[in-house]
């Protein structure tokens, strides 16, 4: 109960404080037009308070008491003392400036305000920060930055005197404070000199301004609003994204451990971390590549690719184009290439290669499956219901999805026990069933019927288009082969024993090489298909009805309409979907972390980065892995920027 109340309170405080700050800032700038004196006073007070808060907060000046290390309400006055003084001084200066328009008076007010601040700081500055000025740097910096100020003033066609004052102010600050020897020979007089000159220069610059007229006020309003509206977002992006990203880049060229234990200094090691990322066999593992020739997938890949090329020749004869890869040859070709890359990736492992495999497989399969459901469901009865089933996994966390699949689908138990994972239960059942006569007849029969149907389709379309007939023939080989296997040894998860009986042989989906990676990908495919479906479904519905009607009248089949009209129309959307999924897949972390934590050759970049950086304290390697991930996504970023700049 206490937790619940604390939760609500912290939420209200967080949201309330943020909105109060923002609305307050807006109300402040609304005063520019309503009551400039009030605005000027408030702005001065805020700047003064912030200035003193920063100086006091960094323990540069003496307060009215010893500040406790952590905040306590009892010592509130110690925390507030200097900011309140700063607010009073700044507020008075601001109001005074807004009351006077004549240049000399304003200059006097500005310098006066600057001097008061300077004296306050000079007299309270802690002894260890007192200055002992060195003439050379002081003169050099002041002259140099004054010149820079004048130069900029000339370039921007501004008042040269104010430009020189601004430059001089910063030059003096750098030269007097930066060039001085701090705390060596504490010298209050020199400190006062340094502060007073700085205060006078800054104050004079402030006094050189004039009170804005109506146009000026409108300008202030517009400029300040642009910062108020865009500023917070930009601040968040800068602090949470840009600066950390740059820091990560720096960390990635530094060593993993400090030079000495306990120190904060890390040696620069150049590209060593990157080198180790790309040469470590953990990350690029080709040791199993030789096994590829024993893979049962490879012959199938060869078969489909050969069939695709053959069909392309046949189709080329038909259309008199030499080689034609569109239409019928495309499907076996895609299947062949898909199977080939599948065989390749199951035998090339390691963090980097796994990551590439994830991107290739999940992106293409999610998009393809999403397109399939979108097409199948289009215009169906209860379309929304069917679609929301497919869509639902999007609301489930990756952690939850991993647990669901691990326990409900992939669980593998000892062969002597009944299986509690659905996939293994089916697999083992299939193995037992197809080892009996009845099972062989039923399962084998089903595949034979499928093969027969495809062969009938082949014969019927032979006179029409030999290429399409060839496609049916190629596809028919698959069920024919499965039927052959069923009638022979049987299919499914079993091992024949010497006494003629069989023993269950469940698949270890999560841990068993070489296919475990693919089963982990299934989880992400399960989640992402819904996303692809929603967007592609909307795109399909947006294809102009006229095109489809016209095609129907010309006697086009459903398949022809889909491949020749719908798909070309939605190609840009397919591109967007694939890019979005690709970016998400590149960063895959939770699924691997929860199912295997990168063991059994399933490591991916994001999880490797997490383990290295946060578990093994190898921050250099961790940062390098993060940068590799970033490099993988960089092309998408560049493409996005290109698209945006092209727009107008």
């Amino acid at each position: 109960m206490g937790k619940l109340i604390w939760t609500i309170v912290s939420v209200v405080i967080a949201v309330g404080a943020f909105s109060a700050l923002w609305v307050g800032a807006n109300l402040l700038f609304s005063q520019v037009n309503e009551d400039f004196r009030r605005f000027s006073g408030l702005a001065g007070a805020i700047i003064g308070a912030l200035f003193m808060a920063v100086i006091d907060g960094n323990n540069l000046i003496t307060g009215i008491g010893l500040r406790p290390a952590t905040f306590e309400f009892g010592s509130l006055h110690i925390f507030l003392f200097w900011p309140v003084i700063g607010a009073l001084l700044g507020g008075v200066t601001g109001v005074a400036l807004s009351l006077r328009d004549e240049a000399v008076t304003r200059l006097a007010i500005g310098i006066g305000g600057g001097l008061v601040f300077a004296l306050v700081v000079a007299f309270t500055l802690k002894t260890r920060y007192l200055l002992s000025m060195r003439t050379m740097p002081m003169i050099t910096w002041t002259v140099a930055l004054t010149a820079v100020g004048v130069g900029l003033g000339v370039l921007r066609k501004r008042n040269l005197l104010t430009a020189a004052l601004t430059g001089g102010f910063f030059g003096w600050l750098l030269g007097s404070f930066g060039g001085a020897l701090q705390g060596v020979a504490s010298n209050r007089v020199e400190t006062i000199l340094a502060c007073v000159v700085a205060g006078a220069l800054g104050g004079a610059r402030l006094g050189m301004t004039s009170n804005p007229d109506v146009v000026g006020r409108a300008n202030i309003d517009n400029r300040s609003r642009s910062w108020l509206f865009v500023g917070p977002a930009f601040l968040f992006i800068t602090v949470m994204l840009i600066i950390p990203a740059i820091q990560t880049l720096i960390l990635s060229v530094q060593g993993n451990k400090p030079i000495e234990p306990g120190s904060q200094d890390y040696a620069y090691v150049g590209l060593d971390n990157y080198q180790s990322v790309f040469t470590n066999p953990k990350n690029i593992d080709t040791s199993r590549f030789g096994d590829i020739w024993g893979s049962a997938i490879l012959p199938w890949a060869g078969f489909f690719i050969a069939a695709g090329i053959l069909l392309a020749i046949v189709l080329g004869r038909e259309t008199k184009q030499g080689l034609n890869f569109g239409g019928a040859p495309l499907m076996p070709l895609l299947m062949g290439v898909g199977l080939f890359s599948f065989a390749l990736f199951t035998h090339l492992r390691g963090t980097v290669i796994n990551n590439i495999w994830w991107v290739v497989a999940v992106t293409s399969l999610s998009t393809a499956l999403g397109l399939t459901v979108a097409k199948l469901a289009d215009g169906a009865k209860f379309e929304p219901v069917a679609k929301s089933f497919v869509f639902m996994p999007m609301a489930i966390s990756f952690v939850g999805a991993s647990i669901i699949w691990r326990l409900m689908m992939y669980q593998a138990r000892d062969a002597s026990k009944s299986q509690t994972g659905l996939l293994n239960a089916i697999w083992v059942w299939l193995g037992e069933f197809t080892n009996g006569t009845l099972g062989k007849i039923i399962i084998g029969g089903i595949f034979l019927i499928a093969a027969a149907a495809l062969i009938v389709a082949m014969v019927r379309s032979l006179s029409d288009s030999p290429a399409v007939a060839g496609l049916y023939g190629v596809l028919g080989v698959v069920p024919l082969w499965v039927a052959y296997r069923t009638f022979g040894d049987g299919i499914g998860g079993y091992i024949p024993l010497d006494d003629g009986t069989v023993r269950a042989n469940p698949i270890n989906f999560v841990q068993g090489l070489p296919f475990n990676n693919f089963w982990l990908m299934m989880i992400l495919i399960w989640v992402q298909t819904g996303f692809a479906m929603v967007i592609l479904s909307a795109a399909i519905k947006a294809v102009p009805e006229d095109y489809i009607e016209a095609a129907k009248i010309d006697g086009a089949t459903d398949g022809q309409i889909f491949w020749r009209i719908t798909v070309p129309q939605i190609i840009p959307t397919i591109g967007v979907v694939a890019t979005t999924i690709m970016v998400n897949v590149m960063k895959v972390f939770d699924i691997v972390k929860v199912t295997t934590n990168g063991q059994f050759d399933t490591q991916v970049l994001a999880n490797a980065m997490y383990s290295e950086a946060f578990q093994f304290s190898n921050r250099g390697i961790g940062a390098a892995l993060a940068m590799v991930l970033f490099l993988g996504i960089l092309p998408v970023m560049v493409f996005n920027i290109y698209n945006l700049t092209k727009e107008d």
């Binding site: 404070f177 966390s397 952690v399 669901i404």
Partner: protein
């Protein structure tokens, strides 16, 4: 297959059968996609022994002599027990709600600013912001965690004095570190999505409001916010699902501190970590974790789909 093509307009029996049959793959896929979650739900209601010894699809737990029970939920939600994720539900809410509201506010301001306030460098700033859409949050994690632990310090060049911008408050292990991180990472997408909508509002209303003397704050507050409710709802839904389901940021910022602020994702992932022992509780835990986003999702699905379309299909 080629034989069963019917010409448009005819509604013969064959065509009816064909159109019904053609829906079989769709329903097969829909059911296939529902199956794992359904299995989780069924198993979460079965006692430990039933879960361990028989598949969830056997439905009835009778074959091991037990009935459906809520025991797993009682253990998982019960306060004080070792495997309770009841507290972490509150933690998840304490993370997800502010991490949804704050980014909406910040991004709405910025989207309005980019759409309707004329200032120098607007276009390039917007492109810069949107180009961060794809940036992986991994590139920021290490320095961010360091900042939450050590504070932020800036060494002035030349003067060589280190100024403290953010003191070492020890924010890691506290929900605020997760709010801030989520807010930062939500910005590019939020601004992109809201900007697309706000920029398409009719120009006339802004011009007439300006003529009536309204400043940007008033226009934003009185006109733009009320008109943008659909897109704000869409983004809120995205952000809520994302923050509720997030694991990486939570485990990085909170996990290392080992405090009691862990959200449900981290809690059930930890539960999944000790293999076998608590698997029967994991089902109930995972279902509780998924229940709230599923309810939110199905009640606001309309907004979600609209938001998805607006976010990915530019126009």
């Amino acid at each position: 297959m080629a034989a069963s093509v019917t010409t448009a307009g005819t509604t013969s029996t064959g065509a009816k059968i064909y159109s019904t049959l053609s829906r079989v793959p769709m329903w097969a896929m829909a059911v296939l996609w529902l199956l794992p979650t359904f299995g989780l739900f069924v198993n979460s209601l079965r006692p430990r022994d039933a879960q361990r010894n028989s598949g969830w699809w056997t439905l009835s737990p009778d074959n091991v002599g037990t009935r459906f029970t809520l025991d797993n939920y009682e253990t998982v939600l019960g306060a004080g027990t070792v495997n309770s994720i009841g507290d972490s539900l509150l933690n998840s809410a304490a993370i997800a709600i502010p991490a949804t509201i704050i980014p909406i506010a910040v991004a709405a301001f910025a989207a309005y600013g980019f759409a309707w306030i004329d200032f120098r460098g607007r276009k390039w700033m917007f492109i810069a912001v949107v180009s961060f859409l794809a940036i992986p949050l991994q590139v920021a994690l290490i320095p961010l965690l360091r900042m939450y632990i050590n504070g932020a310090h800036f060494t002035l060049p030349i003067v060589d004095k280190t100024l403290t911008l953010v003191p070492a408050w020890g924010l890691n292990g506290q929900a605020i570190s997760v709010w801030l991180t989520h807010t930062g990472f939500a910005m590019p997408f939020a601004i992109f999505l809201l900007h697309n909508y706000i920029v398409s509002l009719p120009k006339d209303i802004f011009e007439s409001a300006r003529i009536d003397g309204a400043d940007h704050f008033t226009i934003f507050w009185r006109l733009v916010l009320p008109l943008s409710v659909p897109v704000l709802a869409a983004f809120a839904l995205f952000q809520f699902l994302w923050t509720w389901n997030d694991y990486l940021i939570a485990v990085t910022m909170l996990g290392s501190a080992g405090g009691d602020a862990l959200p449900t994702t981290v809690a059930i992932a930890n539960l999944a970590g000790d293999f076998g022992k608590n698997e029967h509780l994991l089902t109930a835990g995972a279902f509780v974790q998924a229940f709230i986003p599923l309810v939110v999702f199905f009640s606001l699905q309309r907004f979600f789909v609209k938001g998805l379309l607006a976010g990915s299909v530019k126009g």
